[in-house]
């Protein structure tokens, strides 16, 4: 049994947990995040967010008097590790809930296992949307929240000729589909759409293709460190068109990492970034930096992860147990809300996704951030409208706009 | 003798490597049952001719016939199955495998079960390698490696045996013994074509000799005729004839 305890002890060592709370039976949370490999840039903050929330909750008496315990594994940006460790936390460590996954592929890798063992998993990432699964709670933003705000704003401000470059996989393709539909609805025109395989780092040709058609603005849905080389290369070829994105800045804090002005004039919709200038946000940041003084950036996923722990606390306290059916009954009441650092958020009972405050962040010439617009209480409406209703049935499937739930 | 179907025949055989003409219009006949030696100075094209006969190179032009059937573009293994066998100049054995295992691999296409074991035993005795049967072939002495390879080549029961400098690196005694083995095989009906430098050895075994020079057939005849040919002496003198 020693084997199992070690990572838990490590987790607690980090949290400085030796309080008398230990006497009570603890609530265990599994944390599977990529602390090494390709995705580490954006995910280490997620683990910190969970640790910070856990420490605060434990200092405040735990959940219903029971302390929180973290079981943390490094999934190395490797899907097979998610499969191994999801089984481990559910079967061996018998955790009450799991916070897991950065890439959608990793989520799809562990989802069958969560479903098999009737686990409860929080996916705290912005993603392409569409997961309709009773065992999943998604706290990240989805395309309808980010694009239904961003694209009309951009079209109004810059014009109706739009060019999309997107990573050539599910996230990019589905997001591009959303952009296409919204552009059409608003009477605009897609003058180009280009999909870039993951791992591509050379963009001269793409830059030329864009120059050929002269769009009013570009939607950049590029993912991964190799693809983010695009901005530097576009800048050096003097391609200075306005850009719109749902994925940059808010996740990989490119405006901090790249030399200005390569990201100048980029507009991003995000549910949180550390520049958000509200009292709640400032207080949150202060706590964060006290605990993790070297944190390079607090991104939207870090905040999602932080608030997810509090949401879980609220649901368990209202349900009076960690039992999943009891928790889902609480969700079905439709008022699981909290005041998060970003503002008020609520869980939508139909899709178990979350409503957000959406900030429009604009990157300036010197890579400073301004917020020309803020939308409050933007709901994840699409899944519910399309026919996913987890209070009625659990299809445990991921839908896309071109592959919606069958209505019957 | 030339009236019967030759066991091996080449017609107008040519091979170019880039601009290099290494086999030049070679018309060559080998009669069944003879021991024939191929000589010529270094770079005369002997090895290339061997490789063409074995199918390791494909000719640029010309035909190769074995027992009257065309084999010009047949892959090597198919030629071996027709009854050609070869012993390479650098011993071609399986160095990482044990000696008896080498022989087993050579024999297993023809024999199996007890007959295979018996034949391995017989060959080990014949090759004087019984004590080394469980050694790795790579650990044998040079002479023993040569013998092992001859054993493997012979175990295919070939009709035609190609020998590429079979006595290279051997002591005079070993050389002589090798000659006797070749003659014994020949007596059992195996046709032999050997590339050889050692003229004493050629004299010991050869019934006919072909001289190659610049890739072409330069002279052909018995060993005495060849030795008497001043032109042959001249091309060899240019090369340092020993």
């Amino acid at each position: 049994m020693n084997k199992i305890l070690t990572p838990i002890m490590m987790g607690m060592g980090l949290l400085g947990l030796n309080s008398p709370l230990m006497a009570e039976e603890s609530i265990k949370l599994g944390v599977l995040e990529d602390q090494s490999g390709d995705f580490a840039v954006a995910t280490i903050g997620k683990v910190h967010g969970i640790q910070l929330a856990t420490e605060e909750i434990n200092a405040d008496g735990g959940i219903d008097g029971r302390p929180l315990e973290l079981v943390i594994y490094d999934t190395q940006s490797d899907n097979t590790r998610y499969q191994e460790f999801m089984r481990r936390v559910l079967q061996r460590d018998k955790v009450d809930a799991v916070f897991a996954g950065f890439s959608s592929a990793s989520r799809e890798a562990y989802r069958p296992i969560v479903d098999q063992f009737k686990g409860l998993a929080f996916y705290n990432n912005q993603y392409e949307g569409g997961v309709c699964d009773a065992n999943m709670i998604v706290t990240g933003a989805v395309p309808e929240q980010q694009f239904s705000t961003l694209i009309p704003y951009m079209m109004e401000k810059y014009g109706k000729r739009v060019y999309t470059i997107a990573a050539d996989y599910n996230f990019g393709q589905i997001s591009a589909e959303w952009v296409r539909d919204i552009v059409k609805e608003n009477g605009g025109e897609m003058v180009g759409e280009e999909f870039i395989p993951l791992g591509v780092s050379q963009f001269s040709q793409t830059i030329q293709n864009i120059q050929r058609v002269q769009p009013d603005f570009i939607v950049t849905l590029l993912v991964g460190t190799a693809q983010s080389s695009y901005y530097e290369q576009a800048m050096s070829a003097n391609l200075r068109l306005p850009m719109a994105s749902s994925v940059n800045v808010g996740q990989g804090y490119e405006h901090k990492r790249f030399n200005p002005p390569s990201l100048a004039n980029m507009y991003v919709t995000t549910n949180y970034i550390e520049e958000v200038d509200t009292p709640a946000s400032k207080a949150f940041l202060e706590k964060w930096h006290q605990k993790f003084p070297d944190e390079p950036y607090v991104n939207q996923e870090a905040e999602n992860s932080y608030l997810a722990v509090y949401l879980y606390k609220q649901m368990v306290e209202r349900a009076g147990s960690t039992d999943h059916d009891a928790i889902r009954k609480v969700i079905a009441e439709g008022d699981v809300c909290m005041d998060a650092p970003e503002g008020k958020v609520c869980i939508d009972p139909k899709s178990q996704h979350m409503s957000h405050t959406i900030y429009l962040a604009r990157v300036g010439e010197d890579h400073s951030i301004t917020f020309p617009k803020v939308w409050k209480n933007i709901k994840p409406y699409w899944l519910g409208d399309a026919g996913c209703d987890l209070t009625q049935s659990n299809p445990a499937t991921q839908y896309t706009p071109s592959n919606p739930p069958s209505k019957n | 003798m030339t009236t019967s179907t030759p066991i091996l025949e080449t017609q107008g055989l040519n091979k170019w490597f880039g601009g290099l003409h290494v086999t030049n219009e070679v018309d060559f006949r080998l009669d069944p049952g003879e021991i024939h030696c191929l000589i010529g100075p270094n770079g005369a094209g002997k090895s290339t001719l061997f490789k063409l006969l074995l199918g390791e190179h494909t000719p640029s032009a010309g035909r190769i016939l074995f027992e009257g059937k065309e084999i010009t573009i047949e892959p090597s293994f198919a030629r071996i199955r027709r009854g050609i066998s070869v012993k390479f100049q650098v011993p071609g054995i399986f160095k990482e495998l044990r000696v008896h295992h080498n022989l087993e691999i050579a024999l297993q296409r023809r024999l199996k079960g007890d007959a295979l074991d018996a034949e391995i035993e017989r060959l080990l005795g014949f090759l004087n390698l019984r004590e080394q049967a469980d050694k790795l072939a790579g650990a044998l002495s040079h002479g023993q490696k040569q013998w092992l390879e001859i054993g493997m080549a012979v175990s295919l029961r070939p009709k035609l045996l190609l020998l590429d400098e079979p006595t290279a690196g051997m002591t005079p005694d070993e050389t002589h013994a090798t000659g006797e083995v070749i003659q014994a095989l020949n007596a059992e009906g195996v046709t032999v074509l050997a590339v050889e430098h050692d003229m004493a050895f050629v004299r010991q075994i050869a019934q006919r000799v072909t001289v190659l020079h610049f890739g072409a057939v330069f002279a052909q005849g018995t060993i005495d005729e060849i030795v008497a040919d001043d032109r042959v002496a001249a091309i060899y003198l240019g090369q340092g004839y020993d």
Binding site: D74, R81, P197 | A78, A133
Partner: protein, 358 residues
């Protein structure tokens, strides 16, 4: 050995020059380990059993790679391509057919066959084109990367086979696990005790089957052509055919791994055919000892368990330690760590018995 009389053919083939381990000692040890493996689930929890099934899944691919690389001298960097192809096949077939009436087992078989057919096609191209050495490694690597990149962009709805969506980079899910029809009450093989016994049985069958194959005439030719292909050809063997056969068998084993993995996790992704995934089987086989299937089997299980433990306890240092393990293996125990240990103990044992005798 040369004059050992031929015993029963099967027995003779189970042990021989190409495989380590012979005689009563080895086989009683083998039975002991097998018995231990059989009763093990009685003493372990569901997680450990399922985790072991996960490890077993990969061993088939490692054994296949050992066959072509260790015995045939052909380093294929692309075995994971067949892993992925069979995995996707299993997914497509079972999503369309369902798992009733033993159809999931039929799908497993078909997936392996498809992997074999693709391997036959690619192998024909390679071996009959006389491509070998490092070039073969690069072509097979390119092949698997093409497969990966192609599958990664199949997220759109147009990439659907029957009712199965390929689903691009996110991977295909939703296929049923292996299911055995049982008098109207199907046994669903979730990664637990039942699946454990099925995979264990398969593993024993494949292991013994490979031993027989390797000690047969086929195995003889395979090691011969690794050692000296020219000589092997000049003994009348069509070495291309032997290489191709070995490659197809190895690829079918990789396919078996892939289909089992897909059934195990109900999930398969293009990353299974990526660069990192491609290197893993080579690491297992190299560290274990590619020269022998037993050391490969043991080594693969040890490396898999070791790397997992490193990831659990070594956190971010795991990858560094794995890398160091590889470099040290290659430098200090070129035949593989397990093989090195075997050799060392044999040597010590000989010395010990010699001293005891004198």
């Amino acid at each position: 050995m040369a004059n050992s009389p031929h015993k029963m053919l099967f027995h003779k083939r189970l042990e021989g020059p190409q495989t380590l381990g012979k005689g009563k000692g080895f086989w009683s040890g083998f039975l002991l380990v097998l018995a231990a493996a059989c009763v093990y689930p009685l003493f372990a929890d569901g997680y450990d059993v399922g985790n072991n099934v996960y490890f077993f899944n990969w061993v088939f691919m490692a054994l296949g790679l050992c066959l072509i690389w260790g015995y045939g001298g052909i380093l294929s960097f692309g075995q994971v391509a067949f892993f992925g192809i069979a995995g996707y096949c299993y997914g497509i077939l079972t999503i369309n057919w369902g798992a009733a009436y033993g159809l999931s087992l039929v799908a497993l078989g078909l997936a392996v066959v498809v992997a074999g057919l693709v391997a036959a096609l690619l192998g024909y191209f390679l071996f009959y084109g006389r491509i070998n050495g490092v070039f073969l490694g690069i072509v097979t690597l390119s092949f698997t990367l093409v497969c990966e990149r192609f599958m990664a962009q199949t997220a759109g709805p147009q990439w659907t086979v029957g009712t199965a969506r390929l689903n691009g980079f996110n991977g295909m899910g939703g296929m049923p696990p292996l299911t055995i029809p049982w008098f109207g009450n199907d046994i669903i093989l979730f990664p637990d005790v039942q699946l454990y016994y099925l995979i264990l049985a398969l593993l024993v069958a494949v292991y013994l089957g490979l031993r027989v194959l390797l000690n047969s005439r086929f195995g003889n030719v395979l090691v011969a052509l690794r050692d000296n292909p020219e000589r092997a050809e000049m003994l009348g063997y069509d070495i291309r055919r032997y290489q191709l056969t070995a490659f197809v068998i190895a690829s079918m084993l990789a396919g078996l791994s892939g289909a089992l993995y897909t059934a195990w996790g109900q999930y398969i992704t293009p990353s299974s055919m990526g660069m990192t995934a491609a290197a893993l089987p080579i690491i297992w086989v190299a560290v274990g000892g590619r020269g022998d299937i037993t050391t490969t089997l043991v080594g693969t299980l040890l490396v898999l368990a070791g790397f997992q433990a490193l990831t659990v306890y070594g956190s971010q240092y795991a990858l560094v330690l794995m890398g160091a393990l590889l470099v040290i293996t290659v430098l200090a125990a070129p035949q593989g760590l397990v093989m090195g240990v075997v050799n060392l103990t044999t040597r010590l044992w000989r010395r010990f018995t010699k001293e005891a005798r004198s």
